[in-house]
């Protein structure tokens, strides 16, 4: 593997470039992005050079699409005239089924593996990129589509060198899981913050415990980013919201009855397991 093209060099793309370098990659890392993003990524050393999508796609052994979900869906068909046989295309989008379907339709003769690094932080952009961003976090890979390629094993080995916990799931298994573990928590945080906004009580900003900051941090996330994520996982997200609404009704009944023990015990059981990993 000698040339890697990173399409979209924000936090994830920039971190992938830095992590690849730290993991020992000695080839060329080419960025495809807006001018500002390319400048940031070059400044932090995440990419060596920049190119148009067409140029980068035609020369790369690995094409890493680290844009938002909606942009990845747009980029895949644009790759078709340029990407050469033998190249591995992968992505880092937050949902997988729509992207995997788009790849099958757009670049059927090209090796494609969907990916999702379950990592991130509040800051965006390559200036916040870190070589260690993927370490100790899950990195989901979906099954290979299209022809076999030795670059798949190379890519996997690099992910492991970065400290990522590589997990193989089908696109549907992935989307089902993140509906509960990522999309539901986001909606719960935003709903909580919107509920408090609706009360228009100025004392809320002062009279609160440290927990409220934890519980509303995700509510600072970008609505545009989330619109694209939710649009590509609507059925699973609505099912997760239904399961949550049912649990909320049980909680309300438990509070009414003064008997919260069972609800709290079930919640604590999951929270404790999550912390054991």
């Amino acid at each position: 593997m000698e040339k890697v093209a990173i399409v979209g060099v924000g936090l994830i793309g920039g971190s992938f470039g830095l992590a690849l370098r730290r993991a020992g990659f000695r080839g060329e890392i080419i960025g495809v992005s807006s001018r500002d993003a390319l400048q940031e990524a070059t400044a932090v050393g995440a990419i060596d050079s920049s190119a148009t999508l067409a140029e980068a796609a035609s020369g790369a052994d690995l094409i890493y699409l680290s844009q938002t979900v909606d942009r990845i869906l747009e980029t895949l068909p644009q790759l078709r005239p340029h990407v050469r046989r033998g190249t591995l295309v992968t992505d880092a989008g937050s949902t997988k089924a729509a992207i995997v379907r788009q790849a099958a339709a757009s670049i059927p003769d090209i090796a494609f593996v969907g990916g999702h690094p379950l990592a991130g932080k509040e800051k965006r952009g390559a200036s916040a990129a870190e070589a260690g961003l993927f370490a100790d976090h899950a990195y989901v890979l979906t099954p290979l589509q299209g022809p076999d390629t030795p670059y798949l094993e190379t890519f996997r080995r690099y992910l492991l060198s970065m400290g990522a916990r590589v997990v193989e799931l089908t696109a549907e298994e992935h989307d089902q899981a993140v509906a509960f573990t990522s999309h539901l928590p986001q909606l719960v945080a935003t709903t909580l913050a919107a509920t408090l906004e609706g009360q228009q009580n100025a004392s809320f900003r002062v009279v609160h415990g440290p927990g409220l900051l934890d519980m509303t941090r995700l509510a600072m996330s970008s609505a545009d980013l989330w619109a694209a994520i939710l649009a590509t996982n609507r059925t699973a997200v609505l099912a997760a919201l239904d399961a949550y609404a049912k649990e909320l009704a049980s909680m309300k009944a438990a509070v009414s009855a003064g008997d919260i023990k069972q609800c709290f015990t079930r919640g604590e059981s999951f929270a404790a397991k999550l912390r054991r990993g």
Copy 2:
């Protein structure tokens, strides 16, 4: 103010002792608690000596009840035969209306001010106590009941010296606010964790973003502690749950319609205000 009795020397009581000392208090700090708690509190320097409730109450200028809500409700009537005129009694319980009513009924001739430091951390016990625990956090005080006493001004001055942001609210205003800013976030976190527990999907423990840890941290809280808090603020908490359930229904409709912008904007508005303080 020469003698202070701290009843219940856990995280809050222990921190109050340490903070009082750091704020320049030179009198005696007497602890009333279980043997283990007294040992911990003595080891960290939060108290000078220990006594029974009767002994401590009869000698103290300030009695600081830093037990759980249910224990504070039990302690107040026990003070009556021992506490002397001129003493200021205060508490650090998580709800205020029930405690303020109990104080009015149990010690009507004694100065009483309800209090609630909106501070805390995950660890419990005096061994986790910190002199700076109250700094930069709200400390709610309810209106004085019973006779006037110069110790109220002394107590307030010490709280300000500790860096606490003293906020005066009626017990009802306080309980209304914390129903939304503390009790609702707790129930939301526990409900989220219980929902995920209900799915019995082992991949959830691995395939999740960093946000899930934030969103389930409160679910590790003690059910017993929360049973007492919720039992003394049930009406306000049920109203908060209703407001939240309504917002959740709007969110579900927004996700279905693919139009989440408004919900996210309202959530972000509150989250941003909260961070500005």
